[in-house]
């Protein structure tokens, strides 16, 4: 079961991942991603019905910290690396939509 990503699918993924991608780039990206997916496709073919997924190598549970304050960063440090600052806040260009 070969996997063939279309450049439309790639553009969709690029939008999801917030990566600007030109039309030509999307074609080559589609080719590369398809090649990788084809290689890992063996995984899809494995019959692993009875095997539960592992999301984490550790079997720890309930790791909790006490509700005790710790020092915050100085605001100068918080804003030091910011590309744009206004009025003690991080400035961004206009936002086109409400948060989902």
């Amino acid at each position: 079961m070969a996997v063939e990503l279309s450049s439309e699918e790639v553009l969709h993924v690029a939008r999801l991942a917030r990566l600007e991608l030109g039309a030509e780039e999307s074609t080559s990206a589609a080719r590369q991603l398809s090649a990788i997916l084809e290689h890992v496709d063996a995984v899809r073919a494995l019959d692993l019905g009875g095997i539960p997924p592992t999301s984490h190598p550790l079997e720890l549970v309930n790791v909790l910290r006490d509700d005790v304050e710790r020092p915050c960063l100085d605001r100068a440090d918080v804003l030091a690396g910011a590309p744009a600052v206004e009025d003690g806040r991080f400035a961004v260009p206009r936002i086109l939509g409400e948060a989902p």
Partner: protein, 491 residues
Amino acid sequence: MSTGPAPAGAGRASADFEVVVGLEVHCELSTATKLFCGCPNRFGSEPNTQVCPVCLGLPGALPVLNRRAVELAVRVGRALHCEIRPSTFHRKNYFYPDMPKDFQISQYDEPIDVDGYLELPSGRRIGIERAHIEEDTGKTTHLGGGGRIHGADRSLVDYNRAGVPLVEIVSRPDMRSADEARAYVAELRAILVASGASDGRMEEGSLRVDANVSVRRTGSDAFGTRCEVKNLNSLRSLGRAIEHEQARQVALLEAGERVVQETRHWNEDEGRTSSMRSKEEANDYRYFPEPDLVPLAPDGAFVAAATAGLGLMPAERRARLATTVHGPDAAVAASTLDQITTVVDLGLDDLVVEVVERGADARLALARAANEAAQSPEDARRLDPGAFCRLLELEAGGSLSSTQAKSVLAEMLAAGGEPDAIARRLGYEALGSEALESAIDAVVAAHPDAWARYAAGEDKVAQLLTGQVMKATKGRANGKAVAAALAARRG
């Protein structure tokens, strides 16, 4: 049914359609620190002064879960009759500048609290599908567009709120009117405050409500297409928005159109909802288990410790008060139900239950609490139960008229003190029987016709005579004692 002019659409809506409402309530938990770091969970500080590498999403920083937030979520679950379950955190991936990591850590398909309910004062139970823990986002200020997002030329972000712990409580679509939705939120708020999980301040954003609204033909079992309405910042907006949405959707259906499933934004000033721009990929959150956190599996001991000291919830307190006033299983009149709800809402039910246990008249205690004491609930909660009990005794025993008792109570609420002493100071000492008799003599002499009719058996004249006696004694006489004396004199 009302025959007056109905607002456009709304009248037809109530006749042929019913509205179906489910609510998602985000509640900020009253912890000292944020969900995954030690920054203070405090409202109103200077922007970006309550952040650290973790809640700022700096490269390399890792979350560590706040025990208190979990305890509060367990308390909320217990208060909402939920099952407390093992749970895991997932990442909800989407880009938005108020999210420092561009994903939100939230519980997804394995939430901590599942399958509970909340009982409204009306006795209706609203199902709770789930309540889960998640982190809050930062706050965005829009500049250059009158403060609104549309038309703004840039936005500023403050991450002080980022990482504040939330529980999101998702109801089942069990509500059938705007009033019921308001009652649900009021009740939920009371539960969240009672369980210590929240300060319940809607205006500061401690409680935020999204409503899923659909309509369907009355009698239908199938659900209609729903819209999610956001930006509901008060109970008033919630009610108005639901009514608006109901009318809008009914109008669409009656015009033969379809309701489109979408998220809509409530505009309080315009009194209407409008579609929010949404892109198809915005809904692909690519959830996967948060690898930086381990699962939660609260055992019996954890749950027991977390819920220790969890007092009665409002519904239980209403039930207790109703039993106190009426005995078990008695039907409760609507007016009494209102009094019970008010007394519980104001936290005066302990007082009423205590004075009734001390022997006070239950209905009188409830009435004085729901009407007079409720005028100044802060003072009422400080009222000495012994003194309140004594006041009710004086009134029930006829030593104080109800007018007098109310005045004494007002004094007790304002300045405290013993009711006997206050009554004396106000000159409310009960009229001696000699004084009463001479007052009656005077009234009989002044109103011979009335007396004659009363003496002849016309009972309703007693009211007029009693009133005259009260007037003559400047309200110091006790109504019941006057009536008894008049009856005795008639023979």
